[in-house]
């Protein structure tokens, strides 16, 4: 049945995440942004809290952890995992998206381990998150010379007995510097294109695997974005995701890279929704407090119209994300819808954040007003996880009868 009401458990997750975001996350947001870092003790407290919390109270941001909210199966064996994850994530992004991206856990590295890894690999790489302390996974696909053009990666891997030797550079890797392991995509032969791709789990401390630099960015400054260097890194066979047989069929490595996006793009979309909603609400409350009949009505009406438009754009983007997540939960292929959700949400959120700065006027530029931060934070949502242009390529290749050659 067509329905947009949250279940009572979902409403609880939303309320819990919102309160948490409001009272714990938002208060550290500006300082973390200024320092380009979220204090370790804060993250530690966060992860301890997370372990103490009973199942159902904390959204499972990404698959692979098991036992999270919404993972119980219905009669048809379907879960609401993706929908739960989106509901919680929107609230946390409302608080601060950087904090969300810095939450300990497998991060974007989770899906490839989950979907491509063997049971033994899943066990091995996910178990680290049960240990005390801050533990991260990461996802290393982008390179200085290949971002959107995934097939063009140049990081090489070659077989050497029971090992592989990896060489290359990865950039813009979220949590890359502190990750316990990173899923690194490499190629046996660039001329083979996608069929040459292999996915490895490279563990921290492996000789030859080092941190290049931590980027200083326009926004999401508290989130760590790292450059990683691989120089003759020896990786055992057991760390080739899915084992060698998995790649015998051709494009498996590439597909593993792409599979991540089916669940991560609606997630990234909903983070943009969370930021946009924060900016919208801030501007709305500002108007409510400062403009009450103090200005000529036409000016007020224009503000009202802008606010109403922004409100519905936020709601429409959320529905697009929910739709893609619902499809993922139903086990229906959702690449097109995931791309639509992400592209739409990013575009809408940039407008909403820009409107918020404009509505606040000069106040919009002041750092303590938050909106200038969200205005900086939001831009990357039209870039990472596939630029707006890449999303349009994904969508158009799926709506056209023959795949165009562009």
């Amino acid at each position: 049945m067509i329905d947009f009401q949250l279940t009572s458990t979902q409403a609880q997750v939303k309320e819990f995440a919102h309160q948490f975001s409001k009272t714990v996350v938002r208060p550290i947001s500006l300082e973390a942004d200024r320092n380009h870092r979220i204090p370790d003790e804060f993250m530690l407290r966060l992860s301890q809290m997370r372990q103490m919390m009973t199942v159902g109270e904390v959204p499972a941001e990404y698959g692979g952890e098991g036992g999270g909210a919404g993972e119980s199966k219905d009669k048809k064996g379907k879960t609401q995992k993706n929908r739960f994850a989106l509901i919680g994530a929107e609230e946390l992004a409302w608080g601060d998206a950087s904090v969300l991206l810095s939450l300990p856990g497998p991060g974007l590295g989770g899906p490839p381990v989950q979907f491509t890894g063997t049971p033994e690999q899943r066990q091995r790489f996910f178990s680290v998150f049960k240990e005390p302390g801050l533990h991260y996974g990461a996802y290393g696909l982008t390179e200085p010379g290949a971002g959107s053009d995934v097939a063009g990666i140049r990081t090489s891997c070659r077989k050497d007995g029971k090992h592989w030797i990896l060489n290359g550079r990865k950039c813009f890797i979220t949590n890359g510097g502190r990750a316990d392991w990173v899923v690194i995509f490499a190629t046996v032969d660039p001329s083979q294109g996608r069929a040459g791709h292999r996915a490895f789990v490279v563990e921290k401390g492996t000789p030859g695997f080092s941190l290049g630099k931590i980027e200083e960015k326009m926004g999401l400054r508290a989130s760590e974005t790292a450059e990683l260097v691989l120089e003759d890194v020896r990786i055992p066979d057991e760390n080739l995701l899915g084992g060698e047989a998995h790649y015998a069929r051709g494009k498996e490595g590439f597909m593993a890279a792409m599979k991540t996006f089916d669940s991560s793009r609606p997630m990234v979309g909903v983070l943009a929704v969370g930021i946009a909603r924060a900016a919208y609400e801030h501007a709305r409350d500002f108007v409510r407090e400062h403009y009450q009949l103090a200005r000529a009505i036409p000016r007020y009406a224009v503000l009202a119209q802008t606010l109403a438009e922004d409100k519905r754009l936020v709601d429409a983007a959320r529905l697009m994300c929910w739709r893609a997540a619902w499809m993922a939960d139903e086990g229906v292929p959702n690449a097109k819808e995931a791309s639509m959700a992400k592209a739409y949400a990013a575009k809408m959120a940039m407008k909403v954040c820009a409107d918020a700065v404009q509505i606040l006027g000069a106040h919009g530029l002041e750092q303590q007003q938050f909106v200038e931060k969200w205005y900086r934070d939001i831009k990357v949502f039209d870039i990472f996880e596939g630029t707006g242009q890449i999303q349009r390529i994904v969508i158009s290749k799926r709506i056209l009868r023959e795949s165009p050659n562009f």
Binding site: M1, I2, D3, F4, Q5, L6, T7, Q10, Q80, R83, R284, V287, R288, Q292, L293, I297, Y300, A301, A304, Q305, L307, A308, E309, K311, R312, L313, D315, A316, A317, L319, M320, W322, R323, W326, M327, E330, E337, M340, A343, Y344, Q389, Q391, R392, I393, I395, S396, I399, L400, R401, E402, P404, N405, F406
Partner: protein, 393 residues
């Protein structure tokens, strides 16, 4: 639970209407446009499919369809032809007014004629709008005369005005002003006090007959004054349902324009390949596809929330669907180029129809202000109170 799944009966009715639209509406789009009317046989087919009183409760001879089902049906009808979607729906408008404002006996008495097998020949009309109407209430008056009423005044923008078998006319009780003194009356066929004015020619939706209604000493019995428990609430509900239906039509129109452009740009070649294989065109198509979907989910959410009595999502959906449909129709004309502008193809019509449709529902601006008023927690003083009322009824 968040779900985008259709029920089995919804899938069936969607399939039925889709087929009806593809076979009976789309191929005749230009023919119906030129005739400025729909043939009786088409209305009969529509009636026989059970769409005649789809949204009326079963007790009143309808199907008792939910608002989400209504939205699905309207999207499909408008996908075939937005003008036909409006024209075929005319009896529902009057029926809706009677359902929202009449008591049970009145519902039985007046709706029966639409429900019976010959009901397809009968249309209904709602006379609500007036040129230069007061901020609240109407210039049209209703005066007591013996045991009945006499109506005098002029109604504008009435679908099937003057030619319908039944008119619901909104008027001001003599000596009153504002909403408290407003009432609705049923004027039945053959009443010589009601005349239709000259047919008004429209920008789009030519199939829809729109005319003024002139009331000159129009005498009606007391039993024809609709007897609502809450007049204002009844009117709001009537317009909310109408607004939802119209927003769903915009989604259908947008989908029609998008799919047409999608097909055309893959056939049409330039520089040795289908034009759809150029990124500028492909990206536009991707945005059109996204626009259609976002608008549809907004309409679905509005339908589902309206069932629950929550109206704000509807106001959002109205403005959103109007904007999205216009953008998609404009893109479709643009992608077809010259072919988009000539009448050999339907897209030029859709670009006109979408503007017209936007006025058959509440104006986007009023909808947006209703949302803002709610969000800002206060009525926007100095602005007309927004009832989400359309220009055309």
């Amino acid at each position: 639970m968040i779900s985008f799944a259709l029920e089995e009966d919804q899938q069936m009715i969607q399939e039925t209407v889709r087929k009806f639209a593809a076979e009976a509406l789309r191929p005749k789009l230009r023919e119906h446009e030129k005739a400025g009317a729909l043939p009786g046989a088409l209305r009969q087919k529509f009636h026989e499919l059970g769409l005649g009183l789809l949204d009326a409760p079963e007790a009143a001879g309808g199907q008792g369809a939910s608002l989400t089902t209504l939205a699905l049906v309207q999207e499909e009808l408008a996908f075939g032809d937005p003008g036909a979607a409006v024209a075929l729906w005319a009896p529902h408008l009057a029926a809706q007014a009677i359902l929202c404002l009449g008591d049970e006996a009145q519902q039985q008495r007046f709706l029966g004629r639409f429900a019976d097998p010959k009901g397809f020949t009968r249309t209904g009309a709602v006379g609500y709008c007036e040129r230069a109407a007061p901020l609240a209430g109407f210039h049209t008056t209703a005066k007591r005369q013996g045991a009945g009423w006499v109506l005098n005044g002029k109604k504008a923008f009435v679908v099937e005005g003057g030619s319908a078998d039944l008119h619901v006319i909104f008027a001001q009780l003599d000596g009153t002003s504002g909403w408290d003194g407003a009432a609705a009356f049923v004027v039945e066929a053959g009443n010589s006090g009601l005349k239709g004015g000259e047919r008004q020619r429209l920008l789009g939706l030519e199939t829809v007959k729109v005319a003024e209604v002139i009331l000159e000493n129009c005498q009606i019995p007391d039993g024809n004054r609709l007897n609502p428990t809450d007049f204002r609430a009844g009117v709001l509900e009537m317009f909310a349902r109408g607004g939802l239906i119209n927003a769903a039509r915009q989604v259908g129109l947008a989908r029609a324009a998008y799919e047409f452009a999608l097909d055309y740009t893959q056939e049409r070649k330039a520089f040795g390949k289908p034009v759809a294989h150029f990124q500028a065109i492909a990206f536009t198509l991707a945005e059109m596809a996204t626009d259609v979907e976002a608008a549809r989910w907004m309409v679905w959410r509005a339908a589902s929330e309206l069932e629950r009595g929550e109206g704000t999502p509807l106001a959002e959906a109205v403005a959103h669907a109007n904007e999205a449909a216009w953008r998609v129709a404009d893109n479709a004309v643009q992608l077809l180029g010259g072919a988009g502008y000539v009448q050999d193809y339907p897209v030029e019509k859709w670009l006109r129809d979408t503007k017209a449709l936007a006025l058959f529902g509440p104006p986007s601006e009023a909808a947006d202000l209703a949302v803002a008023a709610r969000e800002l927690g206060e009525p926007l003083s100095g602005l007309p109170s927004s009832t989400l009322q359309p220009f055309f009824t």
